[in-house]
């Protein structure tokens, strides 16, 4: 759903699914993820792997998020239960607890830097990496994927974040 488009910035709200996984990398885990979702875990911290409809990000050494660009909600729980059979891993369905904002257009950084101090320069935030920071006083995850930024935050902050972004485009 299109939130706002102006001054060569487009902001869409998407309805996506997400799994948050806690735990250290193990080949077993990697295999599990592969078999469940056909995507492999990134090796490096902050790295984002992308495979047409799925992105998998290593947010920190023991924290991974997998985001599905098409609804898989029903399959998700069984998959999560499978992953959770591994007693050293915690997998949680994060689909509905978060909102998903897609920001594109050449002025997106200019707009975002009105409401966040985050340094979006290539050297600090290369393509296919992720970051966790504050946008408009809200804790967000940002995923840098081909000429788009995907921003997620907790649902209860959703209205606030959206109006902050709209305001930043207006003023």
């Amino acid at each position: 759903m299109n939130l706002i488009s102006s001054n060569s910035v487009n902001v869409k709200e998407l309805n996506l699914d997400q799994i948050l996984i806690r735990g250290l990398y193990t080949p077993t885990l990697d295999k599990q993820i592969k078999s469940e979702f056909k995507i492999s875990l990134p090796k490096d911290n902050l790295q984002v792997k992308q495979d047409n409809n799925i992105i998998c990000s290593k947010n920190s050494f023991d924290q991974w998020s997998i985001i599905f660009f098409q609804q898989v909600r029903l399959k998700l729980d069984t998959a999560i239960d499978k992953i959770n059979e591994n007693e050293k891993i915690l997998a949680t369905n994060y689909s509905e607890g978060q909102i998903y904002i897609e920001i594109s257009g050449e002025n997106k950084i200019f707009m975002l830097n009105k409401i966040t101090h985050f340094d979006f320069r290539e050297k600090n935030f290369p393509l296919l990496t992720s970051a966790q920071t504050l946008i408009g006083r809200v804790e967000c995850n940002i995923y840098n994927i081909q000429n788009k930024l995907l921003v997620t935050c907790n649902r209860s902050f959703g209205d606030h974040l959206k109006s902050q972004i709209i305001d930043a485009l207006k003023f």
Binding site: E96, K114, A168
Partner: protein, 992 residues
């Protein structure tokens, strides 16, 4: 004699006249004029009254350093203390002068001048002491009346925004050195931001007559060529009308951009942008500031700094006065004299404190050629003329006084590198004996200072200065720049801070701080009284504490002090320049982040339903929670809560508990971890069962509580209080990561993954059975404090049998996307069973009737589990858990600590108030011994009277006895101390 236009100035659009009013009188200036230049054009000399003595004051400078010409902008929400020398005029601008009554011309306040000998430094501290009591009632109110400069502004909702930058290089100042540096860096790939406070680039090239050509081009064309060169480049950004105000640690700059220079602000439009900049290197090219010389009446309208006078001619195309007297202790007046001669406005006289042989030959040459009266080795003794300069007294080398008639006196006391930002960066200064000023010596951040900002006053050395300092950036060397100068390349100055008065009168004054009316006499007195440290002197005399922070005079003050103390200026040192460089608008600092953006409002997924159904919300942390529900518009809090509370105990009610914190905990060592985090012992707990649990800080005090659901030994779900959610999670993370990294355990917040509905009341089971047709809710299949997952629609819900009201109850955990559907199902099936929705206030009341505590209300960070009568929750045979050891310290094992009890009024008509104290008698004459305080109090519709919970000293022992409770109407009534459980002590309802 009066002001005259200099039409060949290119900065003013003489074809575009602009009308504005000053103190109600209509004036006309031109596009590009500042208030000051326009007033000068209109021969307005007095623009304000001084702070203390209400002396008439004029325009002293031509820029941000102005101490005198501060005005109030009526047409912009009454904004006070605006520098007339900076603010550009626009059609319809309304200005008012400040600190005078009834009028600028005749200000009653000026009678204080009569008493001025009394109003010396430290005056307030030595007087107004007798008779006692007069200070509060008479003196201080009078002093406050006299306080302040401008009048208060009108209410204003900010329309300014903020912008963060991350760049390789910031250049502060787009003047000569700044532009040279920028041009030489243009070809590097470095990301550069140039900040210029003025509305155009060029600085001294446009503001003075000092340079007639640069690289054999006239100044304007040279500047526009440079601008063209940089326009193309992608990596350079130029911010005009932008002032760098603050230099923080790690090369962090704050700069304020004015978007309304020379135009009227439009309501609702962004009027200014606060730029927050992080840079690898900061190049300070912010130039220098001219300083004054103190002499008798050096504050009279008509006295102006020489460089400023020149700037009015060059930039603003107005000659403030055709034949001024020029006074200097240095070589810088040359270009002005030349200019005046060219304009055929010969100076009345040139007075130089230096002896003839010290004065630059070329300067002497023009003076003799034009036979301008010359006084060498001479001083200005003072000037006279009531409300403006009429007569100027020159003391010549023989000490003879010559009186000159002129309305204008230009003064130059020399230059200071503008070190304000540099010292903010914590850079260290050193004294330059040659130029008699402080200049940057060593920087402690990546700061580079070029040009006169660094104390370089020789054009011929500028290229080399920049090349050597920027070389490491592989900048393109400048090597050499050709200048044609209207003054000698060698700036020379001789020490002169103050001139002697001819007749020492108690009323005669030489000012050092014009805005705060500090005289050189005050400095002397301060030192006499022992304030011989410059920071003391500053505070004692208020020198340089004005809105200009003494930009044109602080160095002079140091000079004078150093002479009185007979010390080197470097020994006297300088006061610390406080950020910001110039006053910074509150609105710009706040930006958009006020009102609805002050702090996020968190809402549950069914927030809209609550709004539609008459919810009144309360702020709990960042959450908006339904406090109570009006079932008709007249219903008030009390009525609603009484209704809701009765209904729940009688039938059923449901609360939106989605804000409760929820944490999923899992790992091989999850059980051990949970046993360490909470007081309870979870080892013996059966899977799929739940338990009320307490979390302590290491100090043993109750930190949070919640219900722990155990899926198995490796997998738990914990709930927390709404306010405590974030703390509890980070508390867990802290210990998992730092204390017990060997434990394999992870936690995710699932607060937002589920909505939580707390449904309770005798009819609850009926309703649940209707909503969840295939689930058995009888005691056997679904006992108290157990939970399970069930299918609901195409998803699953988790249902936990628990209750915070003391009634039969369930907590339903459901996905946000189907939460509203379930919520409405509950009411659809529940309405026949009398189900109602209730808010937090009723929830508080009901749990209190049952004697359940609320962490943060009945506890306050000084309360242990024992104090709350919760020993039973402490896993006795656990070796360790957070806070355990603290429970056995000498003070925490005392048996007579403050403990939780119930309170009931003896006369049931009385209402107990929260926060009131338990006392021993009805006597409330202070001081009264307090046993403790009322933590919770409600009017119970179920008990039919007011009841309360309290923590009181030795409470457990006192149960059964009668004491008193204070009230806000300042009396007390008798109450009985009882057990804190008021309803269903046997838990019949709970497990029914």
């Amino acid at each position: 004699m009066s002001a005259q236009d200099n039409r060949n100035s290119t900065r003013i659009a003489f074809h575009q006249s602009v009308n504005f009013t000053f103190d109600g009188v209509k004036y006309t200036g031109f596009k590009g004029d500042t208030i000051a230049s326009a007033l000068i054009r209109n021969n307005v000399k007095i623009v304000g009254r001084s702070f203390k003595y209400h002396r008439p004051r004029g325009i002293y400078t031509c820029g941000i350093e102005e101490p005198n010409a501060l005005v109030q902008i009526l047409s912009e929400h009454n904004e006070p203390n605006i520098r007339a020398t900076v603010k550009q005029i626009y059609e319809g601008l309304e200005i008012e002068s400040q600190n005078r009554w009834p009028s600028l011309e005749n200000d009653l306040g000026s009678i204080t001048s009569l008493f001025s000998p009394l109003i010396s430094a430290g005056f307030y501290n030595k007087t107004f002491m007798r008779p006692r009591g007069f200070w509060k009632k008479v003196y201080e109110p009078l002093i406050r009346k006299a306080a302040g400069l401008g009048k208060p502004p009108k209410p204003f909702k900010t329309t300014s925004t903020q912008l963060h930058h991350h760049v390789d290089i910031v250049i502060v100042g787009g003047g000569l050195s700044g532009l040279l540096a920028l041009r030489s860096l243009a070809k590097t790939k470095l990301k550069i931001l140039l900040i210029e406070q003025d509305s155009y680039l060029g600085g001294i090239l446009k503001n003075s007559n000092k340079i007639s050509t640069i690289e054999n081009k006239n100044n304007d064309s040279w500047i526009s060529e440079v601008e063209k060169e940089i326009e193309g480049s992608k990596n350079i950004k130029v911010l005009k009308n932008t002032l760098a105000t603050t230099y923080n640690y790690i090369n962090h700059l704050i700069a304020i951009e004015d978007l309304n220079t020379g135009t009227a602000p439009l309501e609702g439009n962004v009027d200014q942008i606060l730029h927050k900049i992080r840079a690898e290197h900061i190049i300070l090219a912010n130039g220098h500031i001219e300083r004054l010389v103190s002499f008798r009446n050096n504050d009279l309208p008509g006295v102006m700094l020489t460089g400023s006078f020149e700037k009015y001619i060059q930039r603003y195309g107005v000659i403030p006065e055709k034949n001024p007297v020029i006074f200097s202790n240095n070589s810088s007046s040359h270009s002005l004299i030349k200019k005046l001669v060219d304009l055929n406005c010969k100076p009345k006289a040139y007075v130089d404190s230096r002896s003839g042989d010290k004065i630059e030959p070329d300067l002497l040459e023009i003076i003799h050629k034009e036979n301008i009266p010359l006084f060498t080795n001479a001083h200005i003794e003072g000037c006279d003329g009531g409300k403006q300069v009429q007569e100027i007294s020159v003391r010549d080398s023989e000490g003879m006084i010559t009186k000159l008639k002129s309305k204008m006196l230009c003064v130059s006391g020399g230059f200071n590198p503008d070190v304000h930002l540099f010292t903010q960066s914590k850079g260290v200064l050193s004294w330059d004996d040659n130029y008699l000023t402080f200049k940057p010596d060593r920087s402690y951040q990546n700061t580079i200072i070029i040009g006169s900002a660094g104390g370089l006053f020789q054009y011929s050395k500028l290229a080399n200065d920049i090349d050597t300092k920027l070389g490491f950036l592989n900048q393109e060397p400048i090597v050499k720049i050709d200048f044609k100068l209207n003054e000698s390349d060698n700036y020379a100055i001789e020490k002169l801070w103050e001139t002697k008065h001819e007749k020492e009168s108690r009323w005669s004054k030489s000012f050092i701080d014009l805005q705060n009316d500090v005289t050189t006499k005050d400095l002397r007195q301060g030192i006499l009284e022992g304030f011989d440290r410059i920071e003391h002197l500053k505070r004692f005399t208020t020198n340089s504490m004005g809105t200009d922070q003494g930009k044109i005079s602080s160095i002079n003050a140091l000079g004078i002090v150093s002479e009185i103390l007979d010390k080197k200026v470097s020994e006297v040192g300088t006061t610390i320049y406080r950020p910001p460089y110039a006053p910074l608008s509150f609105a710009s600092i706040a930006g958009r982040s006020t009102y609805n953006f002050y702090d996020p409002e968190r809402k549950t997924p069914i927030h809209e339903w609550h709004k539609k159904n008459g919810a009144i919300f309360e702020d709990v942390g960042q959450w908006k929670r339904p406090w109570y529900f009006k079932n008709h518009s007249e219903e008030n809090l009390y009525q609603a809560v009484q209704r809701e509370a009765l209904q729940v105990r009688k039938y059923a009610g449901v609360l939106d508990g989605s804000t409760l914190g929820k944490i999923e905990i899992k790992g091989k060592d999850a059980l051990e971890f949970m046993n360490l985090m909470y007081t309870n012992n979870f080892s013996k707990m059966k899977p799929m069962s739940a338990r009320y649990a307490l979390m302590l800080g290491e100090d043993g005090m109750i930190m949070d509580d919640g219900i722990i659901s155990k899926i198995n030994d490796k997998h738990f779900i914990a709930t927390t209080t709404t306010g405590g959610a974030a703390n509890v999670l980070s508390h867990m993370e802290e210990f998992a990561q730092t204390e017990w990294p060997h434990l394999n355990v992870y936690m995710n917040s699932v607060t937002e993954q589920f909505c939580t509905f707390n449904i309770s009341g005798p009819n609850t089971r009926l309703i649940m059975e209707k909503v969840f047709k295939n689930i058995k809710f009888d005691n056997e299949s679904f006992p108290f404090m157990t939970f399970n997952n069930f299918d609901y629609l195409d998803s699953t819900v988790r249902i936990l049998r628990a209750s915070f009201t003391g009634e039969l109850g369930y907590e339903i955990y459901v996905r946000p996307s189907i939460a509203l559907k379930l919520w409405e199902d509950l009411f659809y099936f529940g309405k026949d069973e009398g189900l109602i929705v209730y808010g937090t206030e009723t929830m508080h009341l009901l749990r209190a009737e049952k004697g359940y505590i609320i962490v943060g209300q009945d506890t306050d960070g000084s309360v242990t589990p024992q104090d709350m009568d919760l020993e039973w929750m402490i896993g006795k045979n656990k070796k360790d858990f957070i806070g355990k050891r603290s429970l056995t310290r000498s003070d925490t094992i005392r048996s007579d600590r403050k403990q939780l009890v119930g309170i009931r009024p003896v006369d049931q008509k009385n209402i107990i108030e929260e926060g009131q104290h338990i006392i021993l008698s009805s006597n409330v004459k202070p001081p009264v011994k307090m046993l403790g305080h009322i933590t919770s109090s409600y009017m119970s519709p179920n008990l039919g009277h007011s009841f309360a919970m309290a923590v009181i000293k030795d409470g457990k022992k006192l149960i059964g006895s009668k004491v008193f409770v204070s009230s806000s109407s300042n009396d007390a009534f008798e109450v009985e101390i009882i057990n804190p459980i008021f309803i269903d002590k046997e838990n019949k309802r709970l497990v029914s």
